[in-house]
Symmetry: C2
Subunit: 343 residues, 2 copies
Amino acid sequence: MAKDHKEITIYDIAKALNISPTTVSRGLKDNPAIKLSTRKKIMDTARSMGYRSNTFASRLRMNRTNTIGAIVPRINSHFMAETIAGIEKVINNAGYNLIITQSHEMLEKEIKSAHTLFNNRVDGLLASLAYDTNNIDHFLPFLKKGVPVIFFDRVFNHPNCPTIVIDNYKAGFEATEHLLKQGCKRLLHITGNLSKNVYLDRFNGFRNALEKYGVFFDDDHLIINNLTQNDGIEAAKRISDMPIKPDGVFVANDNCASSCMNELIQQNIKIPNDIAFIGFNNDPVSKVITPALSTVQYPGFEIGQLAARVLINQLGHDHDMTLQTIVLKHELLVRKSSLKMHT
Amino acid sequence: MAKDHKEITIYDIAKALNISPTTVSRGLKDNPAIKLSTRKKIMDTARSMGYRSNTFASRLRMNRTNTIGAIVPRINSHFMAETIAGIEKVINNAGYNLIITQSHEMLEKEIKSAHTLFNNRVDGLLASLAYDTNNIDHFLPFLKKGVPVIFFDRVFNHPNCPTIVIDNYKAGFEATEHLLKQGCKRLLHITGNLSKNVYLDRFNGFRNALEKYGVFFDDDHLIINNLTQNDGIEAAKRISDMPIKPDGVFVANDNCASSCMNELIQQNIKIPNDIAFIGFNNDPVSKVITPALSTVQYPGFEIGQLAARVLINQLGHDHDMTLQTIVLKHELLVRKSSLKMHT
DNA sequence: TTGTAGGCGTTATCAC
DNA sequence: GTGATAACGCCTACAA
């Protein structure tokens, strides 16, 4: 295939039409100051000559990139895929592009991503923090330049960064209460790094529900891991080794919950009658495992949309923002087959 | 937080050090032509003044972006997440950035993405095609400019585009054979749009296996849908309405397979004894459902790595490529509990 | 080893 | 409605 390495510029179009580059520039953006017939001629010529706008020249000149950056722990989860879809929708409608990067749950990569996006001069940043992120120094350069930074889900409190979350405390409380109401007396909780808001809040909800129902909490009954499928299997092994097993387990994500359940079933433990489970996220897997897993519906798409909208809203408004936390509604999804004593 | 809206440029550094911008430019890239002490001074001053390179000016001047674009149907699958991880690894090691876009399985969005990436002048493009993509006109502009385009998984044959795939025909054949060897006599196949190579090849493998084993194929036993969880449920309904049901089902992805299985189980059909299943992709869900689902291990990470490597390799080499198809090895994963008559 | 000068393609400003 | 000009920040001949 032949390759044209020479790019068509607005000058070429101008020359072809015997008008000025300025007019071409305006015409290409449908500027109403230009006569309609001229605009049409410009558009047509541009198309037929194979013109494509040079975004770099434009960005250099305008000092705006029309690009939003997103840093997320992993794109490989139902929740995150939903969230990104929500972000994309709003961002694209507003005429922006989106650059997605993964931290793979590592602070180091998160820092590198932040750096890259900073140098790419994104107009705004959306971030959900990695597992081991314990400070946000790497986001300060953005704030210093007045580039808005919005946190969602895995957030960090900073006076200039709005956050979009659900009430993880309440969700954890309700999930636990759901188990308690079924008569569970010995609850166990499997969750992630407690330095992350989402896991800490859920754990606090868990603990306070126990307290409210006068149920004793044994420190051994808190398992902290990375919530992967493998971690679920490991947790199951620990559980089945316990002399006195729990009769109810609240897991902070469905993925880990399902593999844990499954492993216990292999070992002839009856779910839910021996041990009842509740998960988190409403991942598709929660529907297809046996028994189906009750879970907490996490409004990923809405979180994404909202985060993006808050961001778009800040662009252009140059004033400092006061702390803004938006809490979205979650929902407890009870699946019949996960109830103790279901028929 | 205070905001510095003025960017530091190489001119500012030059002025501060009383040297020329040229020297600064060279010094910043560690050009050995510059005295080591000068280089060090430049670096230090740059850091202390908070300089960041303006990539747009640089790209405008150099006509290279150091960015690779990727267009995929959806990031929400185990396979695609693995693939992207593989791509990222190679791309980043080679010093490039990656822009990921989703077509959401729609040609229209794929075209828009292609357009955006084209205008962003990516140095190369990796693509896996949407469900309803039936031509690749939207990729021709890249080829015309000499920007390499590599297809992986969902590919399109074009003399200038290398493709990275597995042998879907063989995989389909083996999967089907696996069912036949268990004694299945009435096989059904659930798959996606047959205009996509992956689904057509698997179907052909399916059909030829039947032929080889002398098993009759009923046209009613081909269900074509979008392979979503919901489509699996719909398919299950169709199956359970059949007067003579199949005794073996080969589904072209695990997601759809698992929800289909599950729905049939709800209707008191015994899996695998009444109907045996085999899926595709080795999605994590295949391990946790009951019974565990036999499947085809799809080497996503390797596909991603390889696609990226082929791409990187073409950058800089300006010559036309002859058609290059790389076929990676897959593997049949048999899970005991999915075997008919397992104890 | 360092500096000068010019241009990459676009858009903002001012002029007509 | 349209045009001339300058500037965005960087890189690279070419010169010294």
